[in-house]
């Protein structure tokens, strides 16, 4: 059973005590919505949950195992979308998705095309990423998310630069992910319109 637990997370950034005893439990099929003012530490928390930032104290477990013990196994199930899209500006959308998928699982050309059609950027497939708008780039990043799978999604402001249709799409993608038993952690300013049973909330001070 997929389950992410965080217990008493403590983290300092220089003089600033960013995470003060954060705790959360997110089970399979649930989404943890992380909210808080700018600078409250949402991104830091998400990066800590991925294992990118070492903790001062506390423990993060995935399926009951500390993520620091077998980071490779944890990372192979993790799919992270940060502020930056993780895409190269000088590659086309298709090439970006092909190389991103090559790090995770074998995909066919039609899988890539299907992922781009799903996120509404099929017509931009052959264009260099630097020629796309910020919203289109975000949609290509969402295509990467669906293409590379993983049972734990960690998304940092996934809705930034997206239009209204993009927000609906994002909710659909998260909903599908949760229905298949996946776990999602989403930092957002905008309330996620998910069923109450699927939604957990965490507000950082």
């Amino acid at each position: 059973m997929n389950e992410l637990t965080a217990d008493n997370l403590q983290l300092w950034r220089g003089e600033q005590h960013v995470l003060r005893g954060i705790g959360a439990v997110v089970a399979g099929g649930q989404c943890l919505q992380v909210t808080g003012a700018n600078g409250a530490g949402k991104t830091t928390l998400l990066r800590a949950l991925c294992g990118l930032v070492p903790l001062e104290a506390g423990r993060i477990c995935w399926r009951g195992r500390d993520i620091a013990v077998d980071a490779a196994a944890f990372h192979s199930e993790l799919n992270y979308l940060g502020h930056d899209n993780g895409l190269k500006a000088d590659l086309t959308a298709t090439e970006n998705l092909r190389y991103a998928a090559a790090l995770r699982r074998p995909v066919r050309a039609q899988d890539i095309a299907a992922a781009m059609a799903r996120t509404g950027v099929a017509e931009a497939a052959g264009q260099l990423l630097r020629h796309l708008s910020a919203g289109q780039r975000r949609r290509v990043a969402l295509a990467r998310l669906t293409l590379t799978g993983g049972s734990l999604w960690v998304l940092d402001e996934p809705g930034s630069n997206l239009d209204a249709g993009g927000h609906t799409l994002l909710l659909e993608l998260i909903g599908t992910h949760l229905q298949s038993g996946g776990v999602a952690v989403v930092a957002t300013h905008r309330q996620l319109a998910l069923p109450a049973a699927q939604l957990r909330s965490l507000t950082l001070q």
Partner: protein, 229 residues
């Protein structure tokens, strides 16, 4: 959930292919280090008396200082862009050995700056008056030396990738560490030009390259992880 995973070799090959494709797309930037090396080595004969004996004396120094500096030119971009656009995070979080993936990126740096230098070295050495018999020795030294330069340089590039202006700091970090390459490489080249046995400096250069290849991946992964925090 059991998912089919890609192996490390396939992922590293895809990463190398990606970086080579990107380099091809900006061939202007990619060719700069090679052009720099050629210009630097060609300037020495112009600045000196065109006596063959004098040229042969300074040839090792000209070749190796040129190689060191041109290797440095392309280092700045090795991890910086990947760190800025978030692809480096994706490498760190893909569940494959991070050291290995960074080593694959370092291999691309060698393919783009080291290998062209190996191929052009006979030409540059001839321009500096080196006899034909010296070429095998010079080639061996440049091959070993450029490998070590890429490995050491990558650690420096990893340490400085998140700094705003890192050009001179990178040089300050990397050049002292690369001094053994300069010393043994230049010595081997000088002996090759003089027609004397060059096994001793060549072996020391090889040993230094092996040492770099052993230690650099771990230092590199640690440096890049700190940069990603």
């Amino acid at each position: 959930m059991s998912e089919q995973r890609v192996g490390f070799a396939a992922a590293a090959a895809a990463l190398i292919a990606r970086d080579l494709r990107l380099a091809l797309r900006r061939s202007g930037d990619t060719l700069q280090p090679l052009g720099f090396f050629l210009v630097v080595t060609a300037l020495f004969p112009l600045a000196l008396d065109p006596q063959l004996s004098l040229l042969r004396d300074i040839a090792p120094a000209a070749l190796w200082v040129g190689a060191l500096l041109s290797s440095l030119l392309a280092l700045d971009l090795l991890f910086r862009e990947d760190a800025q656009d978030g692809t480096l995070e994706q490498l760190a979080l893909c569940g494959l050995p991070f050291q290995g993936l960074l080593l694959a990126k370092t291999a691309v740096h060698w393919l783009l700056t080291g290998l062209p230098l190996v191929l052009i070295a006979p030409l540059a050495a001839t321009a500096l008056g080196a006899p034909y018999e010296a070429m095998p020795g010079i080639l061996a030294a440049v091959l070993l030396g450029t490998l070590a330069l890429s490995l050491i340089g990558a650690v420096g590039a990893g340490l400085t990738m998140s700094l705003k202006r890192n050009g001179s700091l990178l040089a300050l970090l990397v050049l002292p560490l690369a001094a053994p390459v300069l010393i043994f490489g230049a010595r081997a080249t000088a002996l090759a030009i003089a027609g004397e046995p060059l096994a001793a400096p060549l072996y020391l250069l090889a040993a230094f390259t092996v040492l770099s290849a052993t230690l650099a991946p771990w230092a590199l992964a640690a440096a890049v992880r700190i940069g990603l925090e």
